[in-house]
């Protein structure tokens, strides 16, 4: 799987797609594969102020729950209702239609500190080897 080059990634398998002062956040293809069929996604309310590393919601499969951590700090501007309605989108298109929240970035420079696509691809390969 090609990880989008304009995204940045965390060690917890979240991605950030910056777009000027705002950014979309989601979880990676590796993450959705690990979880299996997604049955439920819980997202924060619009207006919530997130700190990097803080939990912003959860993703559930039949047998497991995973927390999703904010890769960067920001204020939630929009949440993806379509994803809440159809959690299977996360299995189908984790980097596109299954974005989770859109935030107004507190500090745009934070994004650059995360892994780029190449680094993340390597990170995933190492994780899979275990």
């Amino acid at each position: 799987m090609e990880y989008p080059s304009n995204f940045r990634y965390t060690t917890e398998h979240e991605w950030v797609a910056p777009s000027g002062a705002t950014a979309k956040i989601g979880i990676s293809d590796f993450a959705q594969q690990q979880l299996g069929d997604i049955v439920f996604v819980e997202l924060p309310a619009v207006g919530t102020v997130l700190t990097a590393g803080q939990s912003l919601g959860t993703v559930e499969s039949v047998k497991a729950v995973s927390e999703v951590f904010a890769p960067v700090s920001g204020k939630v501007k929009a949440i993806n209702d379509a994803l809440v309605k159809s959690p299977e989108l996360l299995n189908q298109d984790p980097h596109g239609k299954a974005w989770m929240v859109e935030v107004e970035l507190t500090d745009p420079a934070q994004t650059a500190k995360l892994m780029d696509a190449a680094a993340y691809t390597k990170f995933v390969a190492e994780a899979e080897a275990h």
């Binding site: 439920f40 819980e42 559930e60 499969s61 039949v62 047998k63 497991a64 729950v65």
Partner: protein, 442 residues
């Protein structure tokens, strides 16, 4: 020992296959100081006849053959005989939690039907597969309200069962949920003005019981309005499920916490009983306890399965909605069979009989010159004022093989020599007359 499906010869043989000459070797790795070096100080194994004789003696030392007017959270109703016959089938009572759905469809379908009947009775949208009892159902309902609202305050009516309130207090203390009580008026009902004063923007749950501990019927709608005005949830507590055969369902409530014992579960000195939580679909993910859902198999056949398990302890662990694992499944099954047997007409008729017996007894007490507290509409329970403390007259009543009810002295001392009396369909008219006569006599 007759339960053990083996013999010394087989044991020796199995040990030989393991290359061992004694079973002690399998315990050798337990450090010496941990090992019990003597037999347990318990008599050796008894025969069935001896065991049964011992328990029969214990039974004789209770009050067999007495007529009891006790209610107060445990109600005497006739249990259809096929109930015990059915649940005694080994496939019901010796089965485990239905984690393997392909070989537990009996249990799963029964729970699905149970969840449905509870929704129909309570006017709610979703019900779980049961909690330990009414008292812990109330606790779990308040915890659920706290999760949903993000608040921590609990306001509970003082006319809610006193033991339920004790449980609420004990189990919320560690996480410091503030609890306020709202008292009752001289007509034995929740003081709505007091409730309004107690409910704030910090209140998560408002808990009201109906029929309340005194048997008096409360106004769900009024309580709900007060709760909702502050964004709190109304938790409707029901200790006598038979009342739902006739009384309006608590549709205005956000969460219902109900005791199922009245639906064919033996009184049995207080347990096992079973509780339930029923609520709105929008609060589904905050619901504690097991849930059974409909599903299809690979051939398209309908089946049932435990679902939304991610709320529960075995997956969510410290973030679970509750720590509950084992619930009261067999008791819930008894309640299901009871509900199915009485059915739509029967529950109504049963409730009607109970209402009538209670009304007759209250009237008989009044005619005998006793003061019946609380004139408000009631179900089958009420409080009557005795001329002397219960302790002074109890012996006489016991001589007549009557347990007259529960003294309210411990929980509501301000009511004086008040006695809580319950009359169900199991007590014939002559018994009701006898009680009224004796209470006025002593």
């Amino acid at each position: 020992m007759r339960y053990l499906p083996t013999s010394d010869a087989i044991r020796r043989d199995m040990l030989a296959e393991l290359g061992l000459n004694s079973v002690d070797v399998l315990f050798d790795h337990i450090p010496e100081y941990c090992r019990l070096q003597r037999p347990l100080n318990i008599p050796t194994g008894r025969s069935e006849a001896e065991i049964i004789a011992w328990f029969q003696q214990a039974a004789r030392d209770n009050a067999p053959g007495f007529t009891s007017f006790l209610g107060a959270g445990a109600y005497q109703h006739f249990r259809p005989t096929h109930l015990d016959q059915l649940i005694s089938r080994g496939e019901w009572f010796t089965a485990y939690t239905p984690y393997q759905p392909e070989i537990s469809q009996g249990t799963l379908q029964a729970i699905f039907e149970f969840q449905t009947m509870i929704c129909q009775l309570t006017g709610q949208e979703v019900a779980n597969a049961g909690m330990y009892d009414g008292s812990t159902a109330l606790l779990e309902a308040c915890m659920m309200a706290a999760r949903v609202t993000g608040r921590s305050g609990i306001v509970v009516a003082r006319s809610v069962h006193p033991q339920y309130r004790e449980v609420l207090s004990t189990l919320t203390k560690p996480r410091e949920f503030p609890i306020a009580e709202a008292g009752f008026t001289p007509d034995g009902r929740l003081d709505l003005a007091a409730l309004k004063a107690a409910v704030t923007a910090e209140t998560a749950a408002v808990a009201v019981q109906s029929p309340n501990f005194f048997g008096t019927i409360e106004d769900w709608e009024a309580a709900a309005a007060i709760a909702h005005a502050q964004g709190a949830l109304l938790v409707a507590v029901i200790a006598e499920p038979v009342s739902l055969g006739l009384l309006p369902a608590p549709a205005a409530a956000d969460i219902v916490a109900m005791e199922l014992q009245g639906f064919g579960i033996p009184g049995g000195f207080g347990g096992p009983y079973a509780g339930i939580i029923a609520s709105r679909e929008k609060f589904l993910r905050s619901l504690p306890g097991r849930l059974v859902g409909e599903a299809r198999d690979s051939d398209g056949k309908r089946g049932f399965v435990l679902t939304l398990s991610t709320r529960e302890q075995h997956i969510r662990r410290e973030k679970a909605t509750s720590n509950i694992c084992t619930n009261q499944a067999l008791c819930a099954l008894m309640a299901s069979i009871f509900m199915a047997t009485y059915g739509r007409q029967g529950l109504r008729e049963l409730a009607q009989q109970n209402l009538s017996k209670g009304a007759y007894l209250a009237s008989a007490c009044q005619k005998a010159g006793l003061e019946v507290l609380f004139p408000a509409p009631r179900f089958h329970e009420f409080a009557v004022r005795l001329r002397r403390p219960l302790a002074a007259i109890e012996a006489r009543l016991h001589q007549e093989k009557i347990i007259p009810g529960l003294s309210l002295q411990r929980y509501y001392p301000e009511l004086g020599n008040a006695l809580l009396v319950c009359a169900t369909e199991t007590i014939p008219r002559a018994g009701l007359d006898r009680l009224a006569a004796l209470l006025s006599e002593v």
